[in-house]
Amino acid sequence: MGGVCSRKRSQLVHEDDSFQTSSRFSKTSSLKWLLLTLPRSNSDVSRKGQGKGPGRCPSLMELCVAKACEDINKYSSFSVLPRDLSQQIFNELVASNRLTETLLETFRDCALQDIDLGEYPGVNDAWMEVVASQRHSLLSVDISCSEVTDNGLYLLRDCPNMQSLACNYCDLISEHGLGILSGLSSLTSLSFKRSDGVTAEAMEAFANLVNLVNLDLERCLKVHGGLVHLKGLRNLESLNMRYCNNIADSDIKYLSDLTNLKELQLSCCRITDLGVSYLRGLSKLTQLNLEGCPLTAACLETISGLATFINSVLRYKWWQFSHLSKHLIASGETIKTQPCVSFPFVGLASLVVLNLSRCGIYGEGCESFQGLKKLKVLNLGFNNITDYCLAHLKELINLESLNLDSCKVGDEGLIHLKGLMLLKSLELSDTEVGSSGLQHLSGLRNLESINLSFTLVTDIGMKKISALNSLKSVNLDNRQITDVGLATLTSLTGLTHLDLFGARITDYGTSCFRFFKNLESLEVCGGLITDAGVKNIKDLKALKQLNLSQNVNLTDKTLELISGLTALVSLNVSNTRVSNAGLRHLKDLQNLRSLSLDSCRVTTSEVKKLQATVLPNLISVRPE
């Protein structure tokens, strides 16, 4: 496969969108915004309620709010309205992108409680005056991605009742601006993603925020040394410090008394087993994310609380060795650290979610997993986990999601997963699992998602999973899968996601698609599909994502055939013979937001024209 078609997995840590709401797209790095976010114009009441399409009957209140927004220029102030009502008008104006600096004036002194201007274009210090005029009423403010400076932030000193503040990606706020925070002691939730202003010194202001429950410092690169100021925040339940890659073991020490912590995100921090050992007293912790931290399985003892002294010392020897050979970058620091385990721990047996992806963990010490009986989500992807280790997962009968991406597991290991009856999601991509191993999975009646891409699984293996009616998502991106294997799966009529990217599916095999009426996403890029095969795709009305790239024989006829798939949000027909002439067939795909036409016979100008004239919702277009 050529450059365009080989799909390299991003080496970046991927964000767990399932556990936090996704941020909007402008400045954040998540690539998943495409499907997860909706433009503000979509929440317009007039579109939601009246006009086309069925739906819930709009309330009279909604109709009035919409009407007020429509005539917004006729009003000079809403300060006479009850607060609830002006708040609703304000929210609607923000949601429909109609709020301007001028209109904002209308809301001066309106006693608004919530001002959510996160990622709203044009927000700057001037806006902050009206924001601050809400004074004691103001409870929550989001000015993420704004041009607000220290001066603007300073105005919030008039709003001492504020409970929630989000200043993510505010590049103009410096460490001096943070001083104001010390006066906002009612804050329960504070978010400063990717801020250079959050320095060790500036964090002193946090020490005053004793009511803080949620703190988000993702991507703040200067927090090293500042965590000492969090020591007294005993109410803290959730702390996000993902990608704060200057955080070291010494910082984690200050978290050891935050016993109310339930959720702790530390992915890509420079934390070793020693750092993890400081967490042992956090008995309420249910979610722990250590993705990409240079750990060993010895830290599991801390995590599971099953350790004994002797075990730990033995493993320490081994652990030293593995770090020398495998993790040279980290070795300088880790070698010097003391054995992390010296007495039995209280343990973190309450954990429900544990992410240890890309930690470079070896099998030794994996028996400690047995203690984590409450685990529902376990990510062990990209570690040196072996079949032997899987035996220790046998007891984790509450597991609902297990990620073994690129681990050293094979058919033998899967036998240990047999009893995990609650498992909904299983990731086996890039493992040595083959067809015979799948028989151990045939009893997992709750399995909804399975990823078998780049495994050794062949057509024969498909029979083993063909009775798992609960399956919704199946990834079979590997070259051994052919029409024969696909035909075995036609009983899985509940499928919504099917990835056959590299599978050798021909036009003959596409006839199986008619059994998958609920498909929302489909990838068939093995190169063997022609226009005739696309005929079997054209009736999959639920499709939102369709990838037919690399099928070099597809022509404009394909676009004509899929022109009725109006639910499509994303379409990829790169590396095909699609031409400018075919683009007109896309005009009905009004929900289309991403379109890829790389290496097709189309010109950039024609594509741009299409975007400008008939497909206004299109945000991402290739070629650009």
């Binding site: 006009g51 009035c64 007020a68 009502l85």
Partner: protein
């Protein structure tokens, strides 16, 4: 779609008594009276589009409204109450799945109607 009384204070209570406070059956009609005394006789089913009216008409214990089948709104003016009654029927029509034209709101009454909508929780 809605009856409009002729003069303030005009009362026709007798025939409205037939279902006093029967909980679930939204049959029959109810009389809504504006601040100025105009009476609007609407189907109970329509009135119950408003959560406030629904509670009022189904609350146990027999408040005067349930007994007499009429509700006075000393703080809602006739045009606003009329608009509200129109909305009740518009809403029923909409919910029945039939093609429904947009509900028109005159700009000058928007805010007052909004207050009333808030009051009536509709």
């Amino acid at each position: 779609m809605l009856g409009k009384g002729e003069a303030p204070g005009h009362q026709t209570p007798a025939h409205l008594h037939k279902d006093d406070g029967d909980d679930d059956a939204p049959s029959g009609v109810v009389k809504l009276i504006s601040a100025e005394g105009f009476e609007f006789v609407v189907d109970k089913k329509a009135a119950m589009v408003s959560n406030t009216l629904r509670n009022m008409l189904t609350s146990p214990g027999g408040f005067s409204e349930t007994r007499e089948g009429e509700v006075r709104f000393p703080e809602i003016s006739t045009p606003i109450l009329e608009k509200i009654c129109q909305y009740f029927y518009w809403s029923l029509h909409y919910s029945s799945g039939k093609e429904t034209s947009e509900f028109q709101i005159e700009p000058e009454i928007t805010l007052e109607l909004m207050m009333a909508a808030n009051y009536l929780d509709t």
